[in-house]
């Protein structure tokens, strides 16, 4: 009955409903995200203990429950809580599962490396994946891929084949990252999600190109490092590698990323200054997320909130690591992203 009403409303008004409840609760939760002013105050805190106390006052449950020494565990717990919440408010599991897939691919990389390079995977495993970590570990160990979802199995097999060929640990990352973005792109249903993947792919590829340039790599290397193209085709990026960095903004003039590239270069003291790259590309994504403010019934606000919250956790980590190691406040502020709230 409910389904039918939803269907009519959706068809009549061309917006898929169902996320209305999620949107409502997210609009409240968004007000509890850390604001720019709060982040600035945190950056000014005298020591990690004070920063942690300020976080607790700002309403972060994790900060109130544990000591600052346990900040890393608290962040992991907060991430888990975020996905539990997301699952509980979304009418269908697909979209949240789609976001969680990123952690599955990460865990796949971890277990591949753990198995083939004989490393200890414990510290590197995310607990929020869609597929239980043990299942992935088991599949990698026994090479029985059929136990895993198809996309993970495919990525795992391809990565192992590539590793057997090159014997380079990097093969795992390159292949699995590529498969991950390909999978995310294939399974993005809503236009918003498709746009988001395109943005992710473009930013990842630009970042790879800039870093390859900075490390003086050749085209063959970059070709292996690239993930599926977003709006900028691979050929274009590979060509860019031949040009000096000064000409990149001109060459990317008609893409949305010209200013990003220009900003990275403008702060150059060395061949490529990558220090600001992560922050700038995160801000780019945040700007895209902010555009979801007007959606009401679709999954956009939920997705935007999850990603914004992930970035908030990152900001908290930057502050805590900075405070523990005594980085000056100005430097911390330089690293902090603009706030979504």
């Amino acid at each position: 009955m409910n389904e039918m009403v939803e269907l009519e409303y959706a068809e009549g008004l061309t917006e898929d409903s169902g996320y209305a409840f999620a949107t409502g609760s997210i609009r409240v939760l968004e007000t509890r995200l850390l604001t720019g002013a709060q982040l600035a105050r945190l950056a000014e805190a005298a020591d990690p203990a004070e920063a942690w106390r300020l976080l607790a006052e700002a309403g972060l449950a994790m900060a109130a429950e544990t000591g600052w020494q346990e900040y890393e565990a608290a962040l992991a717990q907060e991430l888990e809580r975020l996905y539990q919440y997301a699952r509980s408010v979304s009418p269908k599991p697909e979209v949240v599962a789609w976001l969680k897939k990123r952690y599955d691919f990460h865990n796949l990389k971890v277990f591949l490396k753990a198995h083939f390079l004989e490393e200890d995977p414990r510290e590197a495993v995310f607990g929020v994946g869609e597929v239980p970590a043990e299942l992935i570990a088991q599949a990698v160990k026994t090479a029985v891929w059929s136990a895993l979802p198809e996309e993970l199995a495919r990525a795992g097999e391809a990565a192992v084949a590539e590793y057997e060929r090159t014997k380079a640990a990097q093969a795992f990352d390159f292949v699995v990252d590529r498969e991950m973005f390909a999978h995310l792109r294939e399974t993005a249903r809503q236009p918003f999600l498709r746009g988001l993947v395109e943005l992710w792919c473009d930013l990842a590829n630009l970042k790879s190109a800039l870093r390859a340039k900075g490390l003086g790599k050749d085209r063959a290397f970059l070709a292996r490092a690239l993930v599926p193209p977003g709006s900028i085709p691979h050929d274009r990026l590979l060509e860019l590698l031949e040009f000096p960095l000064e000409e990149w903004p001109e060459s990317l003039k008609y893409t949305p990323y010209a200013r990003l590239i220009a900003a990275v270069r403008a702060e150059a003291g060395r061949p490529v200054d990558l220090g600001q790259l992560d922050r700038l590309s995160d801000n780019f994504v945040l700007a895209r997320l902010r555009a979801t403010r007007f959606s009401l019934y679709g999954p956009e606000p939920l997705v935007a909130y999850i990603l914004a919250k992930e970035m908030e956790l990152k900001a908290v980590r930057i502050i805590m690591v900075g405070k523990i190691n005594g980085l000056p406040p100005e430097e911390l502020k330089e690293r902090l992203r603009t706030s979504y709230a």
């Binding site: 753990a114 004989e118 995310f126």
Partner: protein
């Protein structure tokens, strides 16, 4: 001075003199060796001071970048990126051969690692990690050079110490002792000569008196 136990013979005197000459030559040589060792040591000190500063600077900037990478990435992400399998290849990264400096065996290290430090994907890691690893990788050859120099300094210092002790032993104990021995033998021989001469004179007198 300690009790001198030497045979008072001319043979012995000759032997002692030979020993003294030898000790003096050894003393001179050891002193030269000590001076040369000191010279080398000071050179190494000079070299290591500059090198140490450079290495410390490189490591400090590496750690700073690493710190930032650590802040930018989730703990899990960073651990994943740095799972490189250690060195799973055959043989070691470092070739060691021994070299002789003034007869002191000092190790020489040669780094045999041409591998990339960047053994992770670029799509999901922080660019700051590149900088950290570049700094660390750049510091590694100098760090190894520094280890080499400091080990050499340690070995040289030991050698200088033993040489100095030997020089001192020659200078303070053996040479004075030999000199004293010689003096003693001389005196004893003189004494013996005098007494035998006196005996002879006396015998002569007695014979003359009898005659």
């Amino acid at each position: 001075m300690a009790e001198v136990r030497v045979n008072v013979t001319r043979m012995e005197l000759l032997r002692q003199k030979k020993r003294l000459a030898m000790a003096q030559r050894g003393h001179r040589l050891l002193k030269q060796k000590r001076d040369e060792l000191m010279h080398r040591f000071m050179e190494l000190v000079e070299e290591s001071r500059g090198l140490r500063e450079r290495v410390e600077e490189a490591l400090a900037s590496g750690f700073r970048s690493f710190l930032l990478a650590r802040a930018e990435m989730a703990k899990e992400g960073l651990y994943e990126a740095l799972m490189t399998g250690g060195d799973s290849r055959e043989g070691s990264l470092l070739a060691v051969r021994m070299d002789s400096v003034m007869n002191v065996q000092v190790p020489r290290f040669a780094l045999q690692d041409s591998r990339e430090p960047y053994a992770y994907g670029f799509a999901t890691t922080s660019a700051e990690l590149d900088r950290a690893l570049a700094a660390f990788a750049g510091a590694l050859p100098e760090l190894i050079k520094l280890a080499e120099i400091e080990k050499a300094m340690e070995l040289l210092a030991e050698e200088i110490e033993t040489t100095r002790r030997r020089v001192n032993a020659l200078e303070q104990i053996l040479i004075p002792q030999l000199e004293q021995n010689i003096r003693f033998i001389y005196m004893a021989l003189d004494e013996m000569e005098r007494s035998s001469r006196a005996q002879l004179l006396r015998i002569k007198d007695i014979i003359r008196g009898v005659a």
